[in-house]
């Protein structure tokens, strides 16, 4: 899927503020910074070559590397913008869902829909 985003600097700022305060980011998102990603995957490849990738100490080090990458990603403003844009798009969970009509036992169409799993009337 292609996503095109058109914004201006003010929208960027608002979106960043909003996203950073509302959306918990996965740590792996820090790896979209090329330098961090290269270092991380080089280290992963090294331990894999020695069959040590499952070792608890290696896993601990990888987690620490990710944490450090995340912290440095957030501290770099331009990259933080990319991170928050991405998370804003993914995590727009603040949408309100409002059903203005409630299903009731007296509603014949709702009864039809209960019987017919396909749902919906043909009058739209």
């Amino acid at each position: 899927m292609t996503v095109n985003i058109s914004t201006d600097s003010e929208t960027d700022r608002l979106v960043s503020l909003r996203a950073s305060s509302q959306v918990p980011l996965p740590r792996e998102i820090a790896l979209c910074e090329p330098r961090d990603a290269r270092r991380y995957f080089n280290r992963l490849a090294f331990y894999e070559a020695f069959g040590l990738s499952e070792h608890p100490l290696v896993e601990l080090m990888n987690r620490r590397t990710l944490d450090a990458a995340m912290a440095s990603a957030v501290s770099r403003a331009s990259h933080a913008d990319r991170v928050t844009h991405y998370s804003a798009w993914l995590g727009r969970d603040a949408v309100r869902v409002v059903a203005l009509h409630r299903p009731s036992r007296d509603d014949p169409e709702a009864d039809d829909r209960r019987e017919d799993a396909g749902g919906g009337t043909q009058t739209w």
């Binding site: 899927m1 292609t2 996503v3 095109n4 985003i5 058109s6 798009w89 727009r92 603040a94 949408v95 309100r96 869902v97 409002v98 059903a99 203005l100 009509h101 299903p103 169409e109 709702a110 829909r113 209960r114 749902g119 919906g120 009337t121 043909q122 009058t123 739209w124």
Partner: protein, 206 residues
């Protein structure tokens, strides 16, 4: 009302443009007319269409063929707007610009249905307080939507899908997504809506 920010805002609109957009037979017209009934039960409603067709199935509605015949304070409805105002047509014919420019003076709300913003004259969202109401759009149609509206439409598809899943006893086509208000609303169908309403343009020559 109070339940929905979008419905409250639309109810308070003196002038503006409501755009119902979505693929064919997703309930655009029904939701739009239901919205009109819900928000402005006492305002006169005029169908703006140069074609002659029977509108007796719309109780209380009147038909006009010229925007200048729409009285002050009315709601103007244009079904499948591309038939009446062609996409990119405002560059050649200034009728739409002249009319939309003064709907704020005439307290007119213009309500349109369209299957894609790509085929709709952009003048509708350019000059007045436009509220977009998204219905479901098929992914093939979405690929040809204008980039400015594509992301909102993709979000609409996701949220409508989710709302339908969480409310299996409500009609799936009653759900509308209002990007401006970040709200997914199920609009109750007007009691007079029938098969003939949803196929009102069956006898019209394209």
């Amino acid at each position: 009302m109070g339940e929905s920010e979008a419905i409250d805002y639309i109810s308070g609109m003196e002038h503006g443009v409501i755009i119902a957009v979505g693929s064919g037979k997703q309930g655009k017209s029904c939701s739009l007319h239901s919205l009109i009934d819900l928000c402005w039960p006492h305002r006169p409603v005029y169908m703006l269409d140069p074609m002659e067709y029977d509108i007796s199935m719309f109780p209380g509605y009147r038909r006009v063929s010229d925007p200048n015949d729409i009285p002050v304070g009315s709601v103007a409805v244009i079904e499948d707007v591309n038939r009446v105002f062609h996409s990119r047509g405002s560059g050649k014919d200034a009728t739409l610009q002249r009319w939309l420019g003064i709907i704020s003076h005439k307290s007119t709300v213009v309500c349109i249905t369209t299957q894609s913003m790509a085929g709709t004259d952009i003048e509708f969202v350019r000059s007045q307080d436009a509220v977009v109401m998204c219905k479901r759009m098929h992914s093939e149609d979405l690929a040809f939507e204008r980039p400015e509206f594509r992301m909102n439409q993709a979000l609409a598809n996701i949220w409508i899908e989710r709302a339908v899943g969480n409310n299996p006893f409500l009609d799936p086509r009653s759900w509308c997504f209002f990007p401006r208000f970040n709200e997914c609303v199920s609009i109750p169908k007007v009691p007079w809506w029938t098969y003939s309403n949803s196929h009102m343009l069956r006898d019209v020559r394209a």
